[in-house]
Amino acid sequence: MNARILKTQKSVFFSRFFNTPTAVISLSFLLLMILIILLAPIYEHLRAADPTRVDLFNRFLGPSGTYILGTDELGRDLMLRLLNGGKISLSIGLIASIIAGSIGTVLGLTSGYFGGKIDSIIMRFADTIISLPLLPLLIVFTAIDLSKLGIPQTYIDMPFFGTFKIIIIISIVGWPTIARLVRASTLAVREDDFIQVALAQGYGPMRIMFKHILPNVTSPIIVATTLNIGNIILFESVLSFLGLGIQPPVASWGNMLTGAQELIYEDPKLAIWPGTLIFLTVIAFNFLGDSLQRAFRTRSIQIIE
C-alpha cells in the first residue's frame, strides 16, 4: 500500500514536471550547456588552441572560421574563454550551493528538532546574516590576506585556491535561507506520529533527525538549493567582475566582463556574450527551481486527496 502511494506520487511529480514547458526548456538548456562545457577540452585539443594564449596581432577580431565568436582585447579566443569561464562559474554555483545546502540542512534540522535556546541562537544568527549588507562584507572577505591567518603561501599560490576561496566565502552567506526552510519543515514533521513512535523506541536525536525527519523534508531542500545555484552564480559574477573573485588568467563569466566596460565603445560583443550566458543560466536555474516547487506542491495535494 505504502509503496503504491509512493509510486503514484513519483509519477504525478514527473508528469507534472515534464508537462511544464519552462521546466523542460530550462532543464534541456542546462544539460546541453553542461555537455558542451564538458566537451570543451576535446574542441580545444582539435583546434590545438589555448584559452589563455595571448595574440596581440589578432585583437578584437570579429567572428570567423577559426574564431567562432572572434577574439578579445588580448587576442584570446572568445569562444574558448566562454567555455572555460562557464566551467568555473557553473562549478562554483553547484559546489557552493551543495555546501551551503548541507550547512543549512544540518543547522535547520538541529534548530527545528531541539527548539528552545539552540533554536533561537541559530535563527537569530541566520536572520542577522540575511539582513546585513552582504556585498560590502563579501568584498572584505575576498580582500583578506590569507597568509596572515597562517595559511602557507604555497597553498595560496596554487591554481585552484582562488576558486576554492570563493566557494567557501559564498557558502558562508548562502546557508541561512536553507536553514530557515528546513527548520520550518522540521517543525511540521516533528509532530507526526511516526516521530513519536521513533522516540518511543528510544532512538537518539541523530538517528531521528537524519533517518526519519530528513527524508521527509527533501523537497524544500531540493527547491531551495536549485534556486540558490542561480543566486550564487550571480554573486560569483559580481565579485569576479569587481576584480575580487576569480583572478585572470583563469576565466570566469564575471571576470570576462571586468574589462568590457572600458572597451564598450571599442568592442561591445565582449560585454554581450558573457553577460548573456550568466543571465540565461541563472534564469534557467530559477525556472527549474520554480517548476520543481510547483511539481512538489501538486504531489502533496495528491497525498491529501
Partner: protein, 320 residues
C-alpha cells in the same frame, strides 16, 4: 510598544558592536598594514626605524588592545582620517551618505510605483497572457546580473543612442538641477530594475493570499465596486508583509546600490567602501561598513515598527 522598540534598539546596538569588532578584525587581515603603506614613500628606511614606527602607532600591540583604543576614540566622535582622501573620514562619508540615500530612495519610490500596480494586476488576472508576461519578466529581473544590466544601459543609451551620460553625477562646469537629473536616469533605472522584479513577486503573492479571505468575499457580496474591494480592502492588508519584506531587504538594496554606484561612478557609500577596500584605506572602509550596517539595522527596526503599526493584531508585549 515603546518597550519593544527599546528592546530592539538594544539588540541592534549589540549586533553593531559585535560587527564593529568583527570588521576591525577582518580589515586587520587585509594585505599590508598602514605602516607598510607609509614607508612606501621612503624605500631607504631601515628595519629598526620600521619597528619604531610600528611601536609609535601601536601596530605591534595585540588586536584586542588596538580595537579598544579605536572604539574609545570612536565613541568620543573621533573617527580618524582617510588615507586615500587625506581628510577626516566623516567629512568624506557624510556627502556620500546623502548621495547614496538620494539614489536609493528615488529608486525605491520608482520601484514601488511600478511594482504595486503590476503585482495587483498579476494577482487579479491569474493565467492571463499579460500575467504570464509579467511573471516571465519578473524571473528575468531577478536573474539578470545588475552590473551587466548597467552595461547594457550604457551600451544602449550612451554608446548607440548617445543621449544619456555613461558616468558621473554632473557635467563639470554645469551642475544645474536638470543636468543632475540627467545623470541620475541610468543609475536609478539600473537600481530600480533590479528591485522591481522582486517587489512585484512579493506584492502579487501577498495579494493572491489576501484575496482568498472571507472578508473579500463579503465585500464583494455587499456589492462594492471591484476597485474599492481591491484598493481599500485587499491592498491594505496585502501591503503589510510587503512593507516588512522591503525593509528587511534593505541590505540587498544597499548591495545593489554598491554595484550601481561603482558602474556609474556615482559618489555614494557603496562606491566609497569598495574604493577604500581596494586602496587599503582601512579607516574609511571600517567606518563606511559600520555606517552601512547601522543603516540596515535601522531599516530592520523600522520594519518591525511598521509591521506593528499597520497590523493592529500584532502585539509585541504579549509575545514576550
Amino acid at each position: 510598544m515603546i518597550r519593544f522598540i527599546i528592546n530592539r534598539t538594544c539588540q541592534s546596538f549589540i549586533i553593531l558592536l559585535v560587527m564593529s569588532f568583527f570588521i576591525y578584525l577582518l580589515l586587520g587581515l587585509m594585505p599590508g598594514d598602514p605602516i607598510d603603506l607609509l614607508v612606501g614613500s621612503d624605500p631607504t628606511i631601515s628595519s629598526d626605524d620600521l619597528q619604531r614606527l610600528k611601536e609609535l602607532y601601536d601596530i605591534d600591540k595585540p588586536v584586542l588592545e588596538r580595537y579598544l583604543a579605536w572604539i574609545t576614540n570612536a565613541v568620543q566622535g573621533n573617527f580618524g582620517y582617510s588615507r586615500l582622501f587625506a581628510q577626516p573620514v566623516m567629512d568624506i562619508l557624510s556627502p556620500r551618505l546623502f548621495n547614496s540615500i538620494t539614489l536609493m530612495s528615488v529608486s525605491l519610490a520608482l520601484a514601488l510605483l511600478v511594482a504595486i500596480p503590476t503585482g495587483i494586476y498579476a494577482a487579479t488576472h491569474p493565467n492571463s497572457l499579460l500575467e504570464k508576461a509579467i511573471n516571465f519578466l519578473c524571473f528575468a529581473g531577478i536573474s539578470i546580473p545588475p552590473f551587466w544590466l548597467a552595461l547594457l544601459f550604457i551600451l544602449l543609451f550612451s554608446v548607440f543612442a548617445g543621449i544619456l551620460p555613461a558616468s558621473g553625477m554632473e557635467t563639470i562646469g554645469d551642475g544645474s538641477l536638470i543636468d543632475r537629473v540627467h545623470h541620475m536616469i541610468l543609475p536609478v533605472a539600473t537600481l530600480s530594475m533590479a528591485t522591481i522584479a522582486g517587489y512585484t513577486r512579493h506584492v502579487s503573492a501577498s495579494m493572491t493570499e489576501v484575496l482568498q479571505n472571507d472578508y473579500i468575499r463579503t465585500a464583494r457580496a455587499k456589492g462594492l465596486l471591484e476597485k474599492s474591494v481591491l484598493w481599500r480592502h485587499a491592498l491594505k492588508n496585502a501591503l503589510i508583509p510587503v512593507v516588512t519584506i522591503i525593509a528587511l531587504d534593505f541590505g540587498s538594496l544597499f548591495s545593489g546600490a554598491l554595484i550601481t554606484e561603482t558602474m556609474f561612478s556615482w559618489l555614494g557609500m557603496g562606491k566609497t567602501i569598495y574604493d577604500a577596500i581596494i586602496a587599503s584605506d582601512y579607516n574609511l572602509a571600517l567606518i563606511g561598513l559600520l555606517l552601512a550596517t547601522l543603516l540596515t539595522l535601522t531599516a530592520n527596526i523600522m520594519a518591525d515598527i511598521a509591521y506593528a503599526t499597520l497590523d493592529p493584531r500584532i502585539n509585541y508585549q504579549k509575545k514576550n
